[in-house]
Symmetry: C2
DNA sequence: AAGTGGTCTAGACCACCCC
DNA sequence: GGGTGGTCTAGACCACTTC
């Protein structure tokens, strides 16, 4: 048999893991440069990079575009069915959260948005783009798309707060049902740059639509997560 | 400004997409070989491969280990909260399903299993490994772990059938609640080889635990999906 | 046996981040 | 300005799949 030939790739992976353990690297700590590591393991940068990419897939390390490789912190546990606000979710897990407003635009729905909202294209939407941090690391790019007609004067509000709260307090909307889907895709330029990813790197995309008490759709949302930063966990009981 | 410098990589990606459109390639059809494509685009295999990997991330093409690159068929839409049997799920979407029994073992729970089952390690489990096909393509490797004591003589049954059905009909168990989590990880040797993936390639992992009417845990399950083959979609209403 | 993708070498230039 | 990761070249050998 002897099918388990140890490739150089897998032995470099093991050496890297050993290195991480021995140095007792802290979460978010930077690894040595690719050039230094390829010298250390007597290999080329391309081969070394393949080993790093493999550890990235396994969720052990992550990359910041042109900044280097870092040790993955513990993932944020996230239940997309829960109505919990981001900030609370984060602090419940003994982490610090922060939200930054990136842009607000009012424009007609594009194909993706109108499909999710079950509306004509060209329906006017408020699109709110925000960046969410966990422990000062950008991990989530969110685009909220509200049907303009249902949210008069919402743009005058503080949009770095929880939108769910605004829905309730200012408009009396309460989400009674939501539908969402989870896919993997390449990051667009905007998303990549906000999350410090290389353009085209993989992100976890969650598209969601919310129904109000009467079953009326009020908005939809597109979340783009750093895949290394989150763990989706769902319980059919807990709302 | 002029930040949008067109890299060779992105222009190769575009040419590839054009090629796919022009040839009107059918789902699951094979692309030309990497060598042929790198000649066609006057580049090296490494650069060309990076372009293919980028299209893989975007879910346009998929890879079979040492067999080549293929066009992605439409994804199977999957709701992990639904109690629907795999075969029905697949045929509801006008696809053909097939299940192959790979192995059955009875052994003490390992760390991962005992954690999910909230049991001592060393509790005896029946581990059933199966491979599921959609349109004759292997897309899902499943390991079901049943607490042996709760399922006497189950190994005498036909295990390529729906286990959920066996639970109900033979033992009177009905799942009343389930918890699951979704992560990305590298494929183990067994999973990779069953799904025709290169070892270490990314898979979508879903770990699930099922509670019976009285809230008793009866089994858990680990699903390893080809990430290109599935789209997770959840509705907070529909069970 | 021929051809494939997987792995690997030994370099190079560039845009960008950080100091 | 020095160093980083991102991109790219022009080859090579091997294990495996397919015929």
């Amino acid at each position: 048999m002897e099918k388990n030939k140890t490739t150089q790739l897998s032995s470099i992976k093991e050496s890297l893991i050993e290195l991480l353990n021995n140095r007792d690297l802290q979460p978010s700590q930077k690894l040595p440069s690719e050039r230094a590591l390829s010298l250390l393991f007597s290999t080329t940068r391309i081969t070394l990079k393949e080993a790093l990419l493999a550890l990235e897939i396994e969720g052990i390390i992550y990359r910041e575009d042109r900044r280097g490789w870092f040790v993955c912190p513990v993932r944020l546990i996230y239940n997309p069915l829960s109505r919990c606000h981001f900030n609370q979710l984060v602090s419940d897990q003994q982490r610090s959260g922060k939200t930054q407003l990136l842009a607000v635009r009012t424009q007609p729905a594009d194909a993706q948005q109108s499909k999710l909202l079950e509306l004509d294209k060209n329906t006017q939407l408020h699109c709110i783009e925000r960046l969410r941090y966990v422990d000062n690391r950008p991990v989530l790019y969110v685009q909220n798309c509200l049907i303009s007609a249902l949210f008069p004067a919402i743009l005058a509000q503080d949009l770095s707060q929880s939108l769910t709260l605004l829905y309730q307090q200012e408009y009396g909307y309460q989400t009674s049902r939501s539908r969402f889907d989870v896919t993997l895709c390449g990051a667009s330029k905007e998303v990549a740059s906000a999350l410090h990813l290389a353009p085209g790197q993989q992100v976890l995309k969650i598209g969601r639509v919310n129904y109000q008490q009467q079953g009326i759709i009020i908005d939809c949302e597109f979340e783009y997560w750093r895949p290394d930063a989150v763990l989706i966990a769902i319980d059919s009981h807990a709302g």
